[in-house]
Each structure stands twice: as structure tokens, then as C-alpha cells.
């Protein structure tokens, strides 16, 4: 009986130790993954500001406090995700305390995002309806010869090291070759096609580069 209790207690400690070791490893892996793999794809403050400017909405990260809160939320999410992976690797069940906390933070983030959209919804609708009014009134809007705004917005997804040159080349070819030759409508279609067709190889190449898959693939081949 006593021996059984000691054994169970020892098993409990071993389990906890195993969990903590895994937590350490996965936490380090998460931080490294965030720094070197995910940073390019996670919206930064600058990207959020650009999106808000585009939509005419108020940016939620204007003050140092909101930036700190956002950073704390991301850090908590990473830690909770690490804890969850660690508990799975250590053989635990999913209903750990940390898993419940992680779910709570996910929910809070979701609710926060929903509140942000609702608060700025009026501005977004107003901006869209203004554009539609311009179209209905028969006036040729100023944007018609400019590259499509939503396509330009999508270009934010292009990895940073390609972005500036790619956007510059697209704009130059659009305004100097495609627009005079094919007219605004087909030029806009061309721009859309170029953006969509460019995103896939660029994002895929960046993901492969970051994950080191190129080197692995070559060595396997």
C-alpha cells in the first residue's frame, strides 16, 4: 500500500518533470518559430496600421499600452500553445489548466477582434457606399486608371524582401505598358492576375526558405 503510494507519487513527479522538460523545449521552439518562421506572416503593427488607413478605420495600436497588451496576448498564446503541445508529448490529457486558459485567451482575442470590426463597421460601410454612389452617378472615379486597391492590399502578403521591387515593377508595367495598350479594364484584370499568380510562388518560396526545406530536399534528392 505504502509502496504503491510512493510509486504513484514518484510517477507523478516524473510525469511533472517530463511535462516541464517538454514545456521548456516547446516554449523555446515556439519562440524560435515565431522569430524566424512566423514573423513574416503575422500582422505587425505597421501592417495593421496600413490596413486601418486603407479602410479608413481607427488603428487599435496607437498607444504604448495597446501595443503592450497585444504583445502580451501573442506571448500568452505562444506559451499556452507550448503548454498544450508539452502536455500532449508528456502523455497528459487535453483538459489541463493551461489548455483551458489558452482557450479563454483565444476567445478573448476573438471577441476583441469582433468588437473592433463592429466599432469600425460604420466607417467601412460609409466608405464603400461612397464609392458605389460615385459609380452610380456615372462619374468616372479617379481610381479607374490606378491599380486596383484591393489587389494592392493583397500585396501586403508578399514577403518583405521582395515587396518593394515587385510592387514597383508591377506599377511601372501597369502604367507604362499594359494600361496604354489594353485600356483600364483589361489592365486592372492583368494587375489582379499578376498579384494572385505572384503570391503563390513568393509565399511558398519564402516558406521553403525559412523552413530550410530547399537544403533538405537537395540533400535527399
Amino acid at each position: 500500500m505504502v509502496a504503491g503510494n510512493i510509486w504513484r507519487s514518484r510517477m507523478h513527479w516524473m510525469h511533472t518533470l517530463g511535462f516541464l522538460s517538454w514545456l521548456g523545449i516547446t516554449a523555446i521552439a515556439s519562440v524560435l518559430a515565431y522569430r524566424y518562421l512566423l514573423k513574416e506572416f503575422i500582422p505587425t503593427y505597421e501592417k495593421v496600421e496600413e490596413i486601418c488607413l486603407f479602410l479608413g478605420a481607427r488603428c487599435p495600436f496607437k498607444t504604448a499600452t495597446t501595443k503592450l497588451v497585444a504583445r502580451a496576448v501573442v506571448a500568452s498564446l505562444l506559451l499556452c500553445a507550448s503548454a498544450e503541445i508539452a502536455s500532449l508529448l508528456a502523455g497528459g490529457s487535453k483538459s489541463t489548466l493551461l489548455f483551458r486558459e489558452a482557450s479563454l485567451i483565444f476567445e478573448m482575442t476573438f471577441i476583441g477582434g469582433a468588437i473592433f470590426v463592429v466599432r469600425n463597421l460604420v466607417k467601412i460601410v460609409h466608405r464603400t457606399s461612397g464609392f458605389l454612389d460615385e459609380l452610380e452617378s456615372g462619374r468616372i472615379p479617379q481610381e479607374s486608371t490606378n491599380p486596383p486597391r484591393w489587389a494592392k492590399f493583397l500585396l501586403l502578403l508578399v514577403p518583405r524582401r521582395y515587396r518593394e521591387h515587385l510592387i514597383g515593377d508591377l506599377e511601372e508595367e501597369y502604367s507604362q505598358i499594359v494600361l496604354p495598350e489594353f485600356g483600364p479594364r483589361r489592365a486592372r484584370l492583368w494587375y489582379w492576375w499578376q498579384v494572385l499568380a505572384s503570391l503563390i510562388p513568393l509565399v511558398w518560396a519564402e516558406a521553403k526558405r525559412l523552413a530550410g526545406l530547399v537544403v533538405i530536399w537537395k540533400s535527399v534528392r
Binding site: L166, I167, E172, I177, Q194, P201, A205, S219
Partner: protein, 123 residues
């Protein structure tokens, strides 16, 4: 370890063989000389080679060629027609020229004797 394995495969004397699109891009860079930047290379590929591609695919290829050491690049001055964005100019390096020469020679050797099957020399 993977890095060592990949470097060993690269340092066996011969340059890495070029893919078909890589060879076309290198030829476009050579043709354009000092004016070889993304938009011009893209336009050259479309008009001269009749090869349609996205600028994204072109940039990933140029990036790959730069990693292999076949081309070098430098950033130019920002211009107004590009919305104040700078051009990235590319220049072929000696290793790139050697790889292109090797690829072209291999194509010529393989094509020798089969011209009548391909419809004469006009292709």
C-alpha cells in the same frame, strides 16, 4: 549537416545545371545588359521568348539564381513612375555565364541531327 551535403554537391567542379526557365531568365539578363531589372526582364521574356509568367515566379527564379551565385544584384534610385520605389538591377556573373554556356551547348548537342524531325532549322 544538410548544408554540408548540399555544398558538397555544389563543389564538384561543374556548375549546377540550369532549368529551362532559369536559362531563359539568364539570357534575358544578358540581353538587357545594364538595364536588367524585374519589369524589363519580364517584358523581354514575354515579347522575345513568348514566355508568360508572373512577376512573383520571375523574382523567385532570380532569387534562386542569386543564391547559386549566377547573378548579382544592386538596388537603384527610387523613381516617380514606380511610385517612389527603387529598381533592383541584376547582372550575370562569370559562373552564371559558364552555366548558361554549358546548358546551351548541351541543348545544341542534343538537337544536332534531329532538326528535320523538328521541322527544319526555322524553329
Amino acid at each position: 549537416m544538410f548544408y554540408i551535403v548540399s555544398m558538397q554537391s555544389r563543389t564538384n567542379g561543374k556548375p549546377e545545371p540550369l532549368g529551362e526557365f532559369e536559362a531563359l531568365v539568364l539570357m534575358a539578363v544578358l540581353r538587357l545588359g545594364s538595364d536588367a531589372y524585374g519589369m524589363r526582364i519580364h517584358h523581354e521574356l514575354e515579347t522575345t521568348a513568348g514566355r508568360r509568367c508572373s512577376l512573383g515566379a520571375l523574382y523567385t527564379t532570380l532569387d534562386r539564381l542569386e543564391t547559386k551565385g549566377y547573378v548579382s544584384s544592386h538596388v537603384g534610385e527610387p523613381t516617380s513612375e514606380r511610385g517612389g520605389r527603387a529598381k533592383k538591377f541584376f547582372e550575370i556573373r562569370a559562373t552564371g555565364a559558364a552555366a548558361l554556356k554549358q546548358s546551351y551547348a548541351a541543348t545544341l548537342r542534343m538537337a544536332r541531327g534531329i532538326e528535320p524531325l523538328l521541322g527544319g532549322a526555322s524553329w
